[in-house]
Every structure is written in structure tokens, then in C-alpha cells.
Symmetry: C2
Subunit: 204 residues, 2 copies
Amino acid sequence: MHSVKDEIRRIGLVKVSEPRERLLRTATRLFYEEGINGVGVDRVVAEAGVTRATMYRHFPGKEALVVAYLEHEDAMIRDLFAAAADQAATTGASPSDLLALVIDGVADDATRLHTRGCPFINASAEFPDADGPVRAVVRRHRDWFRATLTELASAADAEDPAATAAALVLLRDAMLVGSYLDGGDVAASFRSTARRVAGLASLT
Amino acid sequence: MHSVKDEIRRIGLVKVSEPRERLLRTATRLFYEEGINGVGVDRVVAEAGVTRATMYRHFPGKEALVVAYLEHEDAMIRDLFAAAADQAATTGASPSDLLALVIDGVADDATRLHTRGCPFINASAEFPDADGPVRAVVRRHRDWFRATLTELASAADAEDPAATAAALVLLRDAMLVGSYLDGGDVAASFRSTARRVAGLASLT
DNA sequence: GCAAAGAGAACGAACGTTCTCTCTACATTC
DNA sequence: GAATGTAGAGAGAACGTTCGTTCTCTTTGC
């Protein structure tokens, strides 16, 4: 006998989301848009269409859900970098072109997806314990981000790869914060400034 | 008959703080260091040595206390600017010198007092309602900050005062975030970069 | 048959807020 | 100068709500 889910799957309309998926997606949306401490577990499970028991079956507690949320954000940015690298590889782009691609991707991400600041900066405002698991994810993310940019800058023959990466991290932080609190098209000035500090042609 | 407070006052050891003062000072410390939503009213009144009733006599509610906290932060930065202006006036410093003084003051403030990020950025992470009173304070502060820097840059004969001010705001945001999350001496690079974008001599 | 999910009650704790009661400080009045 | 009135602060109980978490029970899917 076929279930409703089977039927949906068979028709191929939509893939039925597993509870964990829905939980993570809902938590990502709510935590980012309304702050972590401002959103209770009840809200998350209700909007995810899941019961509390199911949530605690997948996550030991709320903090684990927060960590999963941040790791999901981290994975998305890594995907962005990977996509840029793929595109550069297939089109035979130079390391400088790849750096430009990454800069464009980051700017695009900020204007389309992350209009309420940086998830990691925001989470750090709510989690003062520097030794806690949440801040550990933030640290890992930022370390990876900086290290990756250093590699890219190095491959693109930047004069001082570490300094270039530091400047790009700085610019991205400021762009995310600025576009959230001040509005306006900060992404455009980010792109031009980032290209300049990266030693790229500032055409566009 | 003399009370304990009278005695303390008479001896002149310490000036007894008014409850409102203690509340605001305690709230400022706790909200900044542990996040706003993470600190309950009980914590604030307990550490301020004040009863709940007294708090609600001075503030309509917690949100009013948050607003007062941010306005206090705002006032401190304005004082910093005023002090720099006074110093410049008494020493007959040029507008460029004043701009340099302000940059130094901001850098010094970030290294000594604000090592846990920007109070306004952090508060905005916890208060998603852009139309609420908290975000209104943030907006006022940032508008004033930008406008004042524009004036200073204009007086210092910067090429593009508005762009210079925007760059300085950006740099300050990034310094505060960076020193909190990444550690290290971000203030030094802030000073040199800020002086450069402000068109000042970059000799330390 | 068994693991996973739904449904919902229940827990103690903490939240923001309001209340009553007492005491002290200080200005007004006799 | 002593008595009195009043506003402000201390002490603490209590409100209803929400928090994060755990529980039992039933239903579903493979």
C-alpha cells in the first residue's frame, strides 16, 4: 500500500524533507532573521512542522542546533568558494580571475542572502563565552576564510598575501555590517575596494 | 540621628551613587559583556544593589534600560569627539590634526574599552525590528557619527568628505569586530589605514 | 517488528512585570 | 528645633508567560 509520501515521491513533485532538514532550514532562517536568543525552541519546531520530541532526537539541545546552523552557513560559503574554483578550472581562468570571482561571489551573497549582517558576528554578540562550542565554530570559520583568501592571494601573486587577506576579511565584515545597519549599495564599493586591495584591475 | 549614608558622605570617602546611576552603569557593563537577551532584569538589579521596584521606578521596562544603555554609549563617544575638539582648540591644532586626534581616540577606545565589539552592532543583532526604539538609537548614533566625520573631513580639506567618512565608518566597524573575533592588534592597522584614507601623513 | 515521527502533557527554572509593606531622607510646618 | 508629610528606596512575595527539556503514548513507514 502506498503512502502519501510515496505518492509525492513517485510523481516527483517534491522531495519530502526529512525532519532534520526542515529543522535546520527553519532554524537557519529564524536564528538569522530574529536573533538566536530571541527565538525559542517552540518557534523552531512549530515552523518546521516537527514536534519537540523529534527535535531532541536529532539534536541534544538548542545549542547543538545553533552550532548546526552556523556550520550550515559555513558550508554554504565554502560551496561558494568551491563553485568559483570549479568555474575557474573549467574556463581556464587565472588565479587573479579566481580571486575576482570570489570577490564577486561574496558581494553577491551579501546583497542577496545576507542582508541582516554576518551570521557569525551576530552569533558572537549573543554568545560571550569564547570557549564555548558556538564561538569555536565562529573561530573555525574565520580561520578558514582568512587562510583560504591568503592562499588565493598568494596564487594571484599578491605582494603581501596575508595582509591582502586581512584587508579582504575586514572589507567583508564591514560590508555585511554596513549594508544591514546603514543600507545603501555597499556591495558596489566593496567590490571596487576589494579588487583594488587585491591588486586586480578595477574595471567594472 | 545620622544614617550610614550620611556618615559615608560626611567622612567623604565615596560619593554614594544614586540608584539610577548604578543601574545604568551595571546594565552597560552586563549588556555589553554578556549580550542583552542573555542578561535578565534580576541580574541587573542584583548587581546594581537595587530592588526591582526601584528599577521600574526609573525605567518603564527593560527595553527602556537598553535604550538608556545605548544612549550612554553614544554620549561617551560624543564626549570623546568633544574632548578631541577641545584639545585641538586649546593647542591651536589644524583640522587635519583634529581628524588625527579623533582617529587616535577611536583606536584607543577600541583597545581599552570596547574589546567585545561595537555595542550598536551587537544590539542590532539581537533586535531585528528595524522600527523599534533600540534600532532607532542605533540609527541616530550611526547617522551622527557619519555626519560628524564628514564635517571633520570637509574641514580638513579631504577630496571627497562623504567618501572619506564612509571609509572611516567602515574601518571602525571592521576594527571593532575584528579585534573581538580575531584578536591581535587591529588598532594599529586601523590607525595607519584610517590616516591614509583621510589623506593624513601616515607617520605613526 | 522496529525505528522514527507525531501529539501533547508536564517539568522546573527563568523571564519581565506588578504588588504590598517598611524604612529612610528631606522639606514643610507648627 | 521638634513634629509631620511625602517621595524614594529596600525587601520580598507573587503574577502569568516563556524558556529549555523530558516524558508517555500513538501512529507511521520500511
